[in-house]
Amino acid sequence: MNIRAQVSSVFHLDKCIGCHTCSIACKNLWTDRKGAEYMWWNNVETKPGTGYPTRWEDQEQYRGGWERAEAVLKLGGRGGLLGKIFYNPALPDMDDYYEPFTYKYGDLISAPAGNDQPTARPVSMVTGKPMKIEAGPNWDDDLSGSNVYAANDPGVVKLSDEEQQQMFAIEKMVMFYLPRICNHCLNAGCVASCPSGAIYKRGEDGIVLINQDKCRGWRMCVSACPYKKTYYGWTTGKSEKCILCYPRQEAGEAPACFHSCVGRIRYLGVLLYDADRIEEVALNEDRDLAAAQRDIILDPFDPQVQADARRAGIPEQVLQAARKSPVYKFVKQWAVALPLHPEFRTLPMLFYVPPMLPVISRENQGRQQLADEFFTTLEKARLPIRYLAGLFAGGNEEEVKAVYRRLIAVRMQRRSVSVGDLDAAEVEKAAELAGLTTDQIDALYRMTALTRITERIVVPPMLREQAIEAGMDPEEYKQGMGFGSRKAPKRRW
């Protein structure tokens, strides 16, 4: 037993309205500078869709994550990976993201008088030259159902013809938003792939950072992260990634994307887990991965776990935070949150409550009418369960169905409370099917719909004042920080 604490998150996809406030909050704070324009440490993509970078989920192309056998990176064994150092065949290039651009706004006011309206031409932020814009941030926003984007979604391509047709039949067209940040994985591909050993997990809170002074620009992490959440700084020759706003967390604040989330879909809290079992979990079959990962998360209320955690040096305040963690509730107690693509085997510590996407309406003699079984049927879900299972459960449909049974039970109970038109026996049956008690359903409803920021986001005390020797520069102690440096992040030599 090797107990560690991990700051983890849950994103509730039914609540995401796709407003991109989170992306902008992050961009303004961390990546609003030369060379980082194309980086979206937080991005929100439309699903089904190809995502950012294009088709990032296709590991045959990008070689991210781990092979199941032998715990070897998809990118290659240690020697094989070093052999690719002069040229990395799996590296996405700028066009897989997009070329950042701006407009020559100055032309609008400086153009000489003439017969035509002056225009602001787009110019590349790389070369400064005029360019034709062919892609941009969120280029496929809301374009699900298009035969360019959704039809090329690696998850959709795997479905049968019939299922694909069902998804794209025009009246059934369906989409949801998938906000993504670094998952601060337990078995991180980025960490494992770094030839310099520059990427590390912080022991106390599990935040994954790239030591900027150690990074040599070998750019292996960009490939090895299956979520494409490390980004190569093409001006600095250093890779960067989401730092989970650790400077904010160390001041007791929520990460910027969490704090600014308009839909209040984001939950943050500590999970305790057994680090000795990471590798064992990663060796499971695809379909068992979600359950296996849930299994190494420990119960912070169990006195034995508490005693072990104390002996492992986890401070009392962190244990307290673990007991208040909404993530523990979503992932373990209610089991309604699943990891994204567990089959990449990095053990991502960001979990998603999958979207319900219910039958909303049907046509009745030319008029749209709310469906009878609004919110209550699983079988008529508009996205094939198989597609969702491909996203959140390594293809295990049972795993996803179990989650939906719980979400449906919550909705039925709420409907019977607020509208009162459901048969009590039916509501009870749904709860029983879901395996949730009435109290649990109430708590799940409360946490989903009513809680304030202090309950949704429980930042553990980072205890820096205790952790660092008095008088020592914390950056020095930690050998460098997560991005940039004490010097400006640009090329000097």
């Binding site: 090797n2 107990i3 020697g79 990976l81 070093l82 150092i85 002069f86 040229y87 990395n88 065949p89 590296l91 290039d93 700028m94 590349s124 790389v126 070369t127 991180a188 960490v191 494992a192 770094c194 030839p195 310099s196 050993g197 590390y200 997990k201 912080r202 022991g203 106390e204 900027q212 002074d213 150690k214 990074c215 040599r216 620009g217 070998w218 750019r219 960009v222 190569y232 093409w234 001006t235 600095t236 020759g237 250093k238 072990d308 002996r311 492992a312 040096g313 820096r464 952790a467 660092i468 102690y477 930690k478 050998q479 460098g480 440096s485 010097k487 992040p489 090329r491 000097r492 030599w493």
Partner: protein, 226 residues
């Protein structure tokens, strides 16, 4: 006099610069220590440039170092005419390989607007000096045959004389101009190494082969349970 400056004094200046500036840069501005990969901006031509360039230049450098460090063993190795021929042919092939690959890398940079935007003056200088170096190397190999043999008896003792702090420039003074240029430019490259992206050469990440996959850094040491 010129020979003394170029081959008796400048090598020490170059080494001193490489070491002093190298250490200075590593301690003061480690953030700048990077391969400055440009694959993100262009990858098709990079493959045909970078891969042959690196494998060939590393093997050629290896041969230069071996013949310098262990001239006796080197001589013994080349006693058999067949082995000499084989080495000569391999060396020539690798030399041409570096030349073509480097030309491709230069054309790649010059012809691509994105790459031009990230290329500094130091990058251009480095590429030009490297081009000069491999070009003179190939010329030497074609015009002054059997370098595998004469290197061990001329260049190697000169380098040893430098190493033992009793510089003997006689070995170089009698050499044709192209060899002098190659030798001087070699040390010039050493001199600009700490100022350029060439610093990546001393960061070869061999430790990757033996380190654990997952790296965890603690603020403070903590008790591990058995």
């Amino acid at each position: 006099m010129m020979d003394l400056i170029l081959f008796g004094i400048f090598p020490y200046v170059a080494v001193a610069l490489a070491v002093a500036v190298g250490i200075y840069r590593y301690t003061i501005d480690r953030y700048s220590w990077s391969s400055q990969s440009s694959q993100f901006l262009e990858k098709k031509a990079l493959f045909w440039g970078s891969v042959p360039w690196h494998y060939a230049i590393l093997l050629i450098l290896l041969a230069h170092f071996l013949a310098f460090l262990v001239p006796g063993a080197w001589d013994a190795l080349l006693e058999a005419p067949l082995r000499l021929l084989l080495l000569e042919a391999t060396g020539m092939a690798l030399g041409i390989c570096t030349l073509l690959a480097l030309l491709l890398l230069i054309v790649r940079r010059a012809g691509n607007a994105r790459l031009c935007a990230v290329t500094t003056r130091a990058d251009w200088l480095l590429l030009i000096l490297l081009l000069l170096q491999v070009a003179t190397g190939v010329i030497i190999a074609t015009t002054l045959r059997w370098g595998g043999l004469w290197y061990a008896h001329t260049i190697s003792p000169w380098l040893w004389s430098l190493l033992t702090l009793r510089p003997d420039i006689q070995y170089l003074a009698v050499m044709p101009a192209v060899v002098k240029l190659h030798a001087f430019n070699g040390f010039l490259l050493l001199a600009i190494f700490p100022f350029s992206r060439l610093v990546h050469v001393v960061s070869v990440p061999f430790t990757y082969l033996s380190r654990p996959y997952q790296v965890v850094v603690w603020y403070r040491r903590r008790a591990r349970l058995g």
